[in-house]
């Protein structure tokens, strides 16, 4: 095969791949159009002003957090499985990271401020690494925070109460306040630690 022919093939492959990406991201393809319930954590959409109160009673906003990397995940205390497991896992990861963990602030933002009062959160958080902050705000402040991280939550009525659907992953934000990926705590521990080490590397 001549060099020119190879080049031509490679060019067409590149065109096809790029075209596919453009088409998919523009939402033209059936099934790829973002529905109102979809969650996008693309760079462009993450970041935005929010102000919440920590379980220790301090105001925490995006400006205060700037300059150090942080992690964000959404949850609520009436969640028996995923939320406490994530908090226990983050507690372990903070210990494994060693001194680098001091540069990192994991944030647990409640999507259920109605039941997760500051008193509840203050007690709840004593079980986990002291550097993890639980944050809450009123409905408007919660909505703003959810929007700032291009996340999602929804109140779902149940028999005798309600539960919350919420974005599951842990969002990584670098020291410039930019989206730096997500953590899936089911991925191999080494991958998770490598991502956190990269994020906390000065």
């Amino acid at each position: 095969m001549s060099g020119i022919k190879l080049f031509r093939i490679a060019t067409w492959v590149a065109v096809a791949v790029l075209g596919g990406i453009l088409l998919a991201s523009s939402g033209w393809l059936p099934g790829t159009r973002p529905t109102p319930e979809s969650v996008a954590t693309g760079t462009a959409r993450v970041g935005g002003p929010f102000t919440l109160t920590s379980h220790k009673g301090d105001a925490v906003d995006n400006a205060k957090l700037a300059g150090k990397p942080y992690l964000v995940f959404f949850g609520f205390t009436h969640c028996p499985d995923i939320c406490p497991t994530t908090l226990y896992e983050l507690t372990n990861l903070m210990a494994d990271l060693g001194p680098a963990a001091d540069r990192l602030t994991p944030l647990f933002i409640t999507v259920d401020p109605e039941r997760d009062t500051q008193t509840v959160l203050a007690e709840y958080m004593t079980a986990f690494d002291g550097r993890i902050l639980a944050l809450r705000g009123d409905k408007a402040a919660t909505d703003a925070a959810v929007k700032a991280f291009a996340a999602y939550y929804r109140k779902v009525p149940t028999d005798g109460g309600y539960t919350m659907d919420h974005t599951a992953g842990v969002i990584l934000i670098d020291e410039e306040g930019r989206f730096a990926g997500t953590l899936d705590l089911h991925e191999p521990r080494e991958n998770v630690l490598a991502k956190l080490r990269r994020l906390t590397a000065a």
Partner: protein, 160 residues
């Protein structure tokens, strides 16, 4: 000599500890190692996991769970879809003949609502499971950080 043996025995018991598998039986249903995670203080809910095996020839269903240690108990399935976590109640969990329903593997959990205390590592609490055919059976949930079979994978060595 005796002291050394006693120390070894104590170590063995400590190792086996609370996560030593335990089993219960109701008719043709075997209930393998019911366990629960330690809860943070003032946690409004607690979780429970187990393995239900149907050794019979007919389908059976887990229709109710209750515990003196909680106001109420439901069965839920956790779903993560398009990055969104949700929890939905499961009514009458079917256990097919010859099959095992592994709560952890199938993203199921018992949700104990309103636990009467903070659950701590190593504790046990009673619960009653009610099956459509096998009837009611008393079991005991062991509070531990992880399922026993997962313990070796936790190489961090300092637990949660």
């Amino acid at each position: 000599m005796f002291r050394r043996t006693a120390a070894a025995l104590a170590a063995l018991i400590a190792l086996a500890g609370p996560s030593l598998a335990h089993e219960f039986k109701a008719g043709t249903i075997e209930i393998g190692h019911p366990w629960s995670r330690p809860t943070p203080p003032s946690a409004p809910v607690a979780s429970g996991y187990m393995k239900l095996t149907n050794t019979g020839t007919e389908v059976d269903r887990l229709t109710a769970i209750s515990s003196p240690a909680a106001e109420r108990a439901d069965i839920h399935r956790s779903i993560v879809e398009n990055g969104v976590a949700s929890m939905r109640p499961v009514e009458a969990l079917a256990i097919e003949p010859g099959a095992t329903v592994d709560f952890e593997a199938e993203k199921l959990h018992v949700m104990f609502i309103g636990p009467d205390r903070q659950l701590k590592d190593g504790e046990r609490f009673p619960a009653t499971l009610v099956f459509e055919k096998a009837g009611a059976v008393e079991v005991e949930f062991v509070v531990q950080r992880r399922a026993a079979e997962e313990a070796p994978a936790d190489h961090s060595g300092h637990g949660g």
